[in-house]
Symmetry: C2
Subunit: 214 residues, 2 copies
Protein backbone atom coordinates (compact mmCIF):
# COMPACT_ATOMS: atom_id res chain seq x y z
CA UNK A 1 0.00 0.00 0.00
CA UNK A 2 1.08 3.58 -0.66
CA UNK A 3 2.69 5.25 2.34
CA UNK A 4 2.18 8.98 2.81
CA UNK A 5 4.29 10.89 5.29
CA UNK A 6 2.41 14.08 5.91
CA UNK A 7 1.11 16.62 8.39
CA UNK A 8 -2.52 17.63 8.73
CA UNK A 9 -1.73 21.33 8.50
CA UNK A 10 0.83 21.21 5.67
CA UNK A 11 -0.87 22.61 2.59
CA UNK A 12 1.33 20.56 0.26
CA UNK A 13 0.28 17.41 2.18
CA UNK A 14 -3.35 18.48 1.85
CA UNK A 15 -2.95 18.68 -1.94
CA UNK A 16 -1.71 15.11 -2.16
CA UNK A 17 -4.44 13.82 0.14
CA UNK A 18 -7.06 15.34 -2.20
CA UNK A 19 -5.42 13.68 -5.22
CA UNK A 20 -5.36 10.27 -3.53
CA UNK A 21 -9.00 10.54 -2.43
CA UNK A 22 -10.11 11.79 -5.87
CA UNK A 23 -8.47 8.81 -7.52
CA UNK A 24 -9.71 6.56 -4.71
CA UNK A 25 -6.24 5.22 -4.03
CA UNK A 26 -5.90 3.82 -0.50
CA UNK A 27 -2.87 4.96 1.50
CA UNK A 28 -1.34 4.60 4.91
CA UNK A 29 -1.02 7.87 6.80
CA UNK A 30 2.19 8.60 8.70
CA UNK A 31 1.94 11.80 10.71
CA UNK A 32 5.07 13.97 10.81
CA UNK A 33 4.53 16.82 13.24
CA UNK A 34 6.34 19.80 11.72
CA UNK A 35 5.66 21.96 14.78
CA UNK A 36 7.53 19.45 16.94
CA UNK A 37 10.35 19.19 14.41
CA UNK A 38 9.64 15.53 13.57
CA UNK A 39 10.94 16.23 10.04
CA UNK A 40 14.33 17.31 11.38
CA UNK A 41 15.20 13.99 13.00
CA UNK A 42 17.88 11.66 11.64
CA UNK A 43 15.23 8.95 11.36
CA UNK A 44 13.17 11.07 8.97
CA UNK A 45 16.25 12.31 7.07
CA UNK A 46 16.99 8.66 6.25
CA UNK A 47 13.49 8.38 4.78
CA UNK A 48 13.50 11.72 2.93
CA UNK A 49 16.78 13.57 2.47
CA UNK A 50 14.90 16.81 1.77
CA UNK A 51 13.23 16.48 5.20
CA UNK A 52 9.93 17.73 3.85
CA UNK A 53 6.34 16.54 3.75
CA UNK A 54 4.49 15.24 1.87
CA UNK A 55 6.69 12.23 1.19
CA UNK A 56 5.22 9.48 -0.92
CA UNK A 57 6.33 5.85 -1.08
CA UNK A 58 4.93 3.25 -3.45
CA UNK A 59 7.22 0.23 -3.21
CA UNK A 60 10.56 1.35 -4.63
CA UNK A 61 9.15 4.67 -5.81
CA UNK A 62 9.88 7.49 -3.41
CA UNK A 63 8.91 11.06 -4.11
CA UNK A 64 8.81 14.44 -2.46
CA UNK A 65 7.16 17.43 -4.19
CA UNK A 66 3.40 17.37 -4.60
CA UNK A 67 3.41 18.08 -8.35
CA UNK A 68 5.81 15.21 -8.98
CA UNK A 69 3.48 12.97 -6.97
CA UNK A 70 0.47 14.13 -9.04
CA UNK A 71 2.34 13.30 -12.24
CA UNK A 72 3.22 9.84 -10.98
CA UNK A 73 -0.34 9.18 -9.75
CA UNK A 74 -1.72 10.27 -13.11
CA UNK A 75 0.38 7.61 -14.81
CA UNK A 76 -0.53 4.97 -12.24
CA UNK A 77 -4.28 5.69 -12.18
CA UNK A 78 -5.23 7.86 -15.17
CA UNK A 79 -8.89 8.20 -14.15
CA UNK A 80 -10.27 10.50 -12.97
CA UNK A 81 -7.65 12.68 -14.63
CA UNK A 82 -6.09 15.59 -12.76
CA UNK A 83 -5.04 17.39 -15.95
CA UNK A 84 -7.06 18.91 -18.80
CA UNK A 85 -6.64 16.82 -21.97
CA UNK A 86 -6.19 19.84 -24.25
CA UNK A 87 -2.47 20.79 -24.31
CA UNK A 88 -3.19 24.52 -24.04
CA UNK A 89 -5.59 24.12 -21.11
CA UNK A 90 -3.11 21.72 -19.55
CA UNK A 91 -0.39 24.37 -19.77
CA UNK A 92 -2.78 26.97 -18.31
CA UNK A 93 -3.58 24.58 -15.44
CA UNK A 94 0.13 24.19 -14.80
CA UNK A 95 0.64 27.95 -14.98
CA UNK A 96 -2.01 28.63 -12.33
CA UNK A 97 -0.86 25.73 -10.18
CA UNK A 98 2.78 26.78 -10.33
CA UNK A 99 1.91 30.36 -9.39
CA UNK A 100 0.44 28.94 -6.16
CA UNK A 101 3.08 26.28 -5.60
CA UNK A 102 6.16 28.34 -6.51
CA UNK A 103 5.27 31.97 -5.96
CA UNK A 104 2.97 31.80 -2.94
CA UNK A 105 3.36 28.69 -0.82
CA UNK A 106 7.19 28.62 -0.42
CA UNK A 107 7.24 32.14 0.98
CA UNK A 108 4.69 31.40 3.68
CA UNK A 109 5.71 27.97 4.84
CA UNK A 110 6.89 27.13 8.33
CA UNK A 111 10.63 27.01 7.65
CA UNK A 112 10.63 30.50 6.16
CA UNK A 113 8.52 31.96 8.96
CA UNK A 114 10.82 30.30 11.50
CA UNK A 115 13.87 31.84 9.81
CA UNK A 116 12.23 35.27 9.84
CA UNK A 117 11.33 34.98 13.52
CA UNK A 118 14.73 33.71 14.57
CA UNK A 119 17.06 35.70 12.35
CA UNK A 120 15.23 38.98 11.94
CA UNK A 121 13.21 39.09 15.17
CA UNK A 122 10.05 39.58 13.11
CA UNK A 123 7.15 40.05 15.52
CA UNK A 124 3.70 38.56 14.95
CA UNK A 125 2.47 41.65 13.12
CA UNK A 126 5.41 41.64 10.71
CA UNK A 127 4.93 37.92 10.08
CA UNK A 128 1.28 38.55 9.24
CA UNK A 129 2.17 41.45 6.91
CA UNK A 130 4.71 39.26 5.15
CA UNK A 131 2.17 36.44 4.68
CA UNK A 132 -0.70 38.66 3.58
CA UNK A 133 1.58 40.47 1.11
CA UNK A 134 2.39 37.24 -0.77
CA UNK A 135 -1.20 35.98 -0.63
CA UNK A 136 -2.47 39.12 -2.33
CA UNK A 137 0.42 39.18 -4.83
CA UNK A 138 -0.84 35.87 -6.23
CA UNK A 139 -4.57 35.73 -5.43
CA UNK A 140 -5.28 39.10 -7.10
CA UNK A 141 -3.95 38.13 -10.56
CA UNK A 142 -5.48 34.66 -10.19
CA UNK A 143 -8.91 36.16 -9.49
CA UNK A 144 -8.49 38.41 -12.52
CA UNK A 145 -7.43 35.54 -14.76
CA UNK A 146 -9.96 32.95 -13.60
CA UNK A 147 -12.94 35.33 -13.39
CA UNK A 148 -12.68 35.87 -17.17
CA UNK A 149 -13.79 32.27 -17.65
CA UNK A 150 -17.33 31.99 -16.36
CA UNK A 151 -18.43 29.01 -18.38
CA UNK A 152 -16.96 26.23 -16.32
CA UNK A 153 -17.76 24.71 -12.94
CA UNK A 154 -14.13 24.84 -11.77
CA UNK A 155 -11.29 27.20 -12.67
CA UNK A 156 -10.64 25.94 -16.18
CA UNK A 157 -12.92 23.00 -16.89
CA UNK A 158 -15.99 21.19 -15.57
CA UNK A 159 -13.91 18.76 -13.56
CA UNK A 160 -11.38 19.22 -10.81
CA UNK A 161 -7.78 19.61 -11.98
CA UNK A 162 -4.44 20.26 -10.28
CA UNK A 163 -5.55 23.91 -10.03
CA UNK A 164 -8.14 23.14 -7.35
CA UNK A 165 -5.85 20.62 -5.65
CA UNK A 166 -3.44 23.48 -4.98
CA UNK A 167 -5.86 26.41 -4.66
CA UNK A 168 -8.11 25.02 -1.92
CA UNK A 169 -5.29 24.32 0.56
CA UNK A 170 -3.91 27.84 -0.03
CA UNK A 171 -7.35 29.34 0.62
CA UNK A 172 -7.57 27.23 3.79
CA UNK A 173 -4.33 28.88 4.92
CA UNK A 174 -5.61 32.29 3.87
CA UNK A 175 -8.67 31.85 6.11
CA UNK A 176 -6.47 30.61 8.93
CA UNK A 177 -4.28 33.70 8.76
CA UNK A 178 -7.14 36.14 8.39
CA UNK A 179 -6.47 37.21 4.81
CA UNK A 180 -9.31 39.37 3.45
CA UNK A 181 -10.68 37.34 0.54
CA UNK A 182 -13.58 39.67 -0.26
CA UNK A 183 -11.94 40.78 -3.51
CA UNK A 184 -11.72 37.21 -4.75
CA UNK A 185 -15.33 36.08 -5.24
CA UNK A 186 -14.49 33.71 -8.09
CA UNK A 187 -11.87 31.91 -6.05
CA UNK A 188 -14.26 31.66 -3.11
CA UNK A 189 -16.98 30.17 -5.31
CA UNK A 190 -14.55 27.55 -6.60
CA UNK A 191 -13.61 26.79 -3.00
CA UNK A 192 -17.26 26.23 -1.99
CA UNK A 193 -17.88 24.05 -5.02
CA UNK A 194 -14.85 21.90 -4.25
CA UNK A 195 -15.71 21.54 -0.59
CA UNK A 196 -18.98 19.88 -1.60
CA UNK A 197 -16.93 16.96 -2.89
CA UNK A 198 -16.24 13.98 -0.69
CA UNK A 199 -12.56 13.83 -1.73
CA UNK A 200 -11.92 17.38 -0.52
CA UNK A 201 -13.79 16.74 2.73
CA UNK A 202 -11.77 13.61 3.44
CA UNK A 203 -8.54 15.53 2.83
CA UNK A 204 -9.36 18.50 5.10
CA UNK A 205 -6.87 19.13 7.93
CA UNK A 206 -9.57 18.69 10.57
CA UNK A 207 -10.39 15.24 9.27
CA UNK A 208 -6.87 13.85 9.72
CA UNK A 209 -5.75 11.57 12.54
CA UNK A 210 -3.07 14.01 13.71
CA UNK A 211 -5.36 17.08 13.82
CA UNK A 212 -4.57 19.22 16.83
CA UNK A 213 -6.60 22.34 16.18
CA UNK A 214 -6.46 25.15 13.69
CA UNK B 1 7.04 33.72 -34.16
CA UNK B 2 7.18 32.99 -30.44
CA UNK B 3 7.62 36.08 -28.28
CA UNK B 4 9.60 35.78 -25.07
CA UNK B 5 9.51 38.57 -22.52
CA UNK B 6 12.51 37.99 -20.34
CA UNK B 7 15.52 39.42 -18.56
CA UNK B 8 19.08 38.26 -19.07
CA UNK B 9 19.69 37.79 -15.33
CA UNK B 10 16.36 36.14 -14.40
CA UNK B 11 17.10 32.47 -13.77
CA UNK B 12 13.57 31.44 -14.74
CA UNK B 13 14.05 33.28 -18.07
CA UNK B 14 17.39 31.51 -18.53
CA UNK B 15 15.60 28.12 -18.13
CA UNK B 16 13.16 28.90 -20.92
CA UNK B 17 15.92 30.19 -23.22
CA UNK B 18 17.75 26.86 -22.82
CA UNK B 19 14.56 24.94 -23.66
CA UNK B 20 13.94 27.01 -26.80
CA UNK B 21 17.53 26.65 -27.99
CA UNK B 22 17.57 22.90 -27.25
CA UNK B 23 14.44 22.42 -29.31
CA UNK B 24 15.78 24.88 -31.92
CA UNK B 25 12.63 26.97 -31.77
CA UNK B 26 13.21 30.54 -32.97
CA UNK B 27 11.88 33.32 -30.76
CA UNK B 28 11.79 37.07 -30.51
CA UNK B 29 13.48 38.45 -27.41
CA UNK B 30 11.79 41.26 -25.48
CA UNK B 31 13.96 42.58 -22.68
CA UNK B 32 12.16 43.48 -19.44
CA UNK B 33 14.63 45.09 -17.08
CA UNK B 34 13.59 43.94 -13.60
CA UNK B 35 16.19 46.18 -11.94
CA UNK B 36 14.54 49.21 -13.51
CA UNK B 37 11.05 47.96 -12.62
CA UNK B 38 9.99 47.47 -16.24
CA UNK B 39 7.74 44.59 -15.05
CA UNK B 40 5.82 46.91 -12.73
CA UNK B 41 4.52 49.21 -15.47
CA UNK B 42 0.86 49.29 -16.53
CA UNK B 43 1.99 48.43 -20.06
CA UNK B 44 3.54 45.18 -18.90
CA UNK B 45 0.67 44.39 -16.52
CA UNK B 46 -1.62 44.45 -19.56
CA UNK B 47 0.63 41.86 -21.19
CA UNK B 48 1.12 39.66 -18.09
CA UNK B 49 -1.13 40.17 -15.10
CA UNK B 50 1.36 38.36 -12.84
CA UNK B 51 4.01 40.96 -13.86
CA UNK B 52 6.70 38.31 -14.00
CA UNK B 53 9.25 37.06 -16.50
CA UNK B 54 9.58 34.85 -18.41
CA UNK B 55 6.36 35.47 -20.28
CA UNK B 56 5.75 33.39 -23.36
CA UNK B 57 3.43 34.19 -26.26
CA UNK B 58 2.71 31.88 -29.18
CA UNK B 59 -0.23 33.39 -31.07
CA UNK B 60 -3.19 33.13 -28.70
CA UNK B 61 -1.26 31.04 -26.18
CA UNK B 62 0.10 33.12 -23.33
CA UNK B 63 1.97 31.60 -20.42
CA UNK B 64 3.94 32.58 -17.38
CA UNK B 65 5.76 29.95 -15.25
CA UNK B 66 8.74 28.21 -16.80
CA UNK B 67 7.51 24.66 -16.11
CA UNK B 68 4.18 25.37 -17.79
CA UNK B 69 6.11 26.70 -20.78
CA UNK B 70 8.26 23.52 -20.88
CA UNK B 71 5.12 21.39 -20.86
CA UNK B 72 3.60 23.38 -23.71
CA UNK B 73 6.84 23.30 -25.74
CA UNK B 74 7.08 19.54 -25.25
CA UNK B 75 3.66 19.14 -26.85
CA UNK B 76 4.48 21.56 -29.65
CA UNK B 77 7.92 20.14 -30.49
CA UNK B 78 8.34 16.73 -28.81
CA UNK B 79 11.94 16.28 -29.98
CA UNK B 80 14.41 16.51 -28.39
CA UNK B 81 12.36 15.63 -25.35
CA UNK B 82 12.87 17.49 -22.09
CA UNK B 83 11.38 14.68 -19.97
CA UNK B 84 12.51 11.09 -19.33
CA UNK B 85 10.15 8.63 -21.06
CA UNK B 86 9.96 6.26 -18.07
CA UNK B 87 7.15 7.45 -15.74
CA UNK B 88 9.23 6.88 -12.60
CA UNK B 89 12.26 8.74 -13.95
CA UNK B 90 9.91 11.43 -15.19
CA UNK B 91 8.51 11.86 -11.67
CA UNK B 92 12.05 11.93 -10.24
CA UNK B 93 12.98 14.62 -12.79
CA UNK B 94 9.95 16.63 -11.70
CA UNK B 95 10.85 16.12 -8.03
CA UNK B 96 14.37 17.48 -8.48
CA UNK B 97 13.19 20.29 -10.73
CA UNK B 98 10.45 21.34 -8.32
CA UNK B 99 12.88 21.35 -5.39
CA UNK B 100 14.86 23.98 -7.32
CA UNK B 101 11.89 25.85 -8.74
CA UNK B 102 9.69 25.86 -5.61
CA UNK B 103 12.00 25.51 -2.64
CA UNK B 104 15.07 27.46 -3.73
CA UNK B 105 14.43 30.01 -6.46
CA UNK B 106 11.34 31.79 -5.01
CA UNK B 107 13.15 32.58 -1.79
CA UNK B 108 16.08 34.23 -3.50
CA UNK B 109 14.44 36.18 -6.25
CA UNK B 110 14.50 39.93 -6.60
CA UNK B 111 11.04 40.69 -5.22
CA UNK B 112 11.73 38.81 -2.00
CA UNK B 113 15.16 40.40 -1.52
CA UNK B 114 13.61 43.81 -2.17
CA UNK B 115 10.94 43.15 0.48
CA UNK B 116 13.60 42.09 2.98
CA UNK B 117 15.71 45.18 2.32
CA UNK B 118 12.80 47.58 2.47
CA UNK B 119 10.68 46.11 5.26
CA UNK B 120 13.28 44.58 7.54
CA UNK B 121 16.29 46.77 6.80
CA UNK B 122 18.31 43.65 6.04
CA UNK B 123 21.87 44.73 5.29
CA UNK B 124 24.01 43.17 2.56
CA UNK B 125 25.46 40.59 4.93
CA UNK B 126 22.03 39.46 6.11
CA UNK B 127 20.81 39.24 2.51
CA UNK B 128 23.80 37.04 1.65
CA UNK B 129 23.19 34.81 4.70
CA UNK B 130 19.55 34.42 3.72
CA UNK B 131 20.46 33.49 0.13
CA UNK B 132 23.25 31.10 1.04
CA UNK B 133 21.02 29.40 3.62
CA UNK B 134 18.41 28.45 1.02
CA UNK B 135 21.03 27.45 -1.57
CA UNK B 136 22.58 24.94 0.83
CA UNK B 137 19.18 23.72 2.05
CA UNK B 138 18.46 22.44 -1.47
CA UNK B 139 21.85 21.84 -3.08
CA UNK B 140 23.03 19.55 -0.23
CA UNK B 141 20.19 16.99 -0.56
CA UNK B 142 20.35 17.27 -4.36
CA UNK B 143 24.07 16.45 -4.35
CA UNK B 144 23.36 13.49 -2.07
CA UNK B 145 20.52 12.24 -4.26
CA UNK B 146 22.15 12.75 -7.65
CA UNK B 147 25.62 11.51 -6.64
CA UNK B 148 24.12 8.06 -6.00
CA UNK B 149 23.52 7.73 -9.74
CA UNK B 150 26.92 7.67 -11.40
CA UNK B 151 25.97 5.85 -14.56
CA UNK B 152 24.53 8.68 -16.57
CA UNK B 153 25.97 11.71 -18.30
CA UNK B 154 23.42 14.09 -16.78
CA UNK B 155 21.54 13.97 -13.48
CA UNK B 156 19.15 11.16 -14.34
CA UNK B 157 19.70 10.11 -17.92
CA UNK B 158 22.15 10.46 -20.81
CA UNK B 159 20.31 13.42 -22.24
CA UNK B 160 19.42 16.81 -20.86
CA UNK B 161 16.07 17.01 -19.06
CA UNK B 162 14.17 19.68 -17.17
CA UNK B 163 16.53 18.98 -14.25
CA UNK B 164 19.49 20.59 -16.03
CA UNK B 165 17.31 23.37 -17.45
CA UNK B 166 16.60 24.45 -13.88
CA UNK B 167 19.83 23.43 -12.15
CA UNK B 168 22.31 25.32 -14.35
CA UNK B 169 20.64 28.76 -13.90
CA UNK B 170 20.55 28.19 -10.12
CA UNK B 171 24.24 27.31 -10.11
CA UNK B 172 24.90 30.45 -12.18
CA UNK B 173 23.24 32.44 -9.39
CA UNK B 174 25.16 30.50 -6.75
CA UNK B 175 28.46 31.50 -8.40
CA UNK B 176 27.26 35.08 -8.71
CA UNK B 177 26.49 35.28 -5.00
CA UNK B 178 29.66 33.54 -3.89
CA UNK B 179 28.06 30.34 -2.59
CA UNK B 180 30.70 27.73 -1.71
CA UNK B 181 29.97 24.85 -4.08
CA UNK B 182 32.96 22.71 -3.06
CA UNK B 183 30.70 20.16 -1.37
CA UNK B 184 28.69 19.64 -4.54
CA UNK B 185 31.14 18.02 -7.01
CA UNK B 186 28.43 16.05 -8.81
CA UNK B 187 26.36 19.15 -9.46
CA UNK B 188 29.46 21.02 -10.68
CA UNK B 189 30.33 18.21 -13.09
CA UNK B 190 26.81 18.30 -14.52
CA UNK B 191 27.17 22.06 -14.89
CA UNK B 192 30.43 21.74 -16.85
CA UNK B 193 28.95 19.04 -19.06
CA UNK B 194 25.91 21.18 -19.86
CA UNK B 195 27.95 24.28 -20.56
CA UNK B 196 29.71 22.40 -23.37
CA UNK B 197 26.40 22.40 -25.22
CA UNK B 198 25.59 25.09 -27.72
CA UNK B 199 22.02 25.51 -26.38
CA UNK B 200 23.26 26.35 -22.89
CA UNK B 201 25.89 28.73 -24.25
CA UNK B 202 23.31 30.57 -26.35
CA UNK B 203 21.05 30.92 -23.29
CA UNK B 204 23.74 32.28 -20.92
CA UNK B 205 22.98 35.69 -19.40
CA UNK B 206 26.14 37.20 -20.89
CA UNK B 207 25.05 36.21 -24.38
CA UNK B 208 21.75 38.11 -24.27
CA UNK B 209 21.09 41.44 -25.96
CA UNK B 210 20.18 43.14 -22.67
CA UNK B 211 23.27 41.97 -20.75
CA UNK B 212 24.58 44.72 -18.52
CA UNK B 213 27.17 42.91 -16.41
CA UNK B 214 27.11 40.25 -13.76
Amino acid sequence: MIQLYNYYRSSASYRVRIALHLKQIPFEYHAINLRDGAHKTDTFKKINTFQTVPYFIDGDIKLSQSLAIFDYLENLHPEPTLYPKDPVLRAKALEITLSLVCDLHPLNNLKVLTYLREKTNFNDEQIMSWMHHWFHQILAPLEEMISKNKQTRYALTNSVTIVELCLIPQLYNAHRFGVDLSKYPTLKTIESTCLELDSFQKALPENQIDYEGN
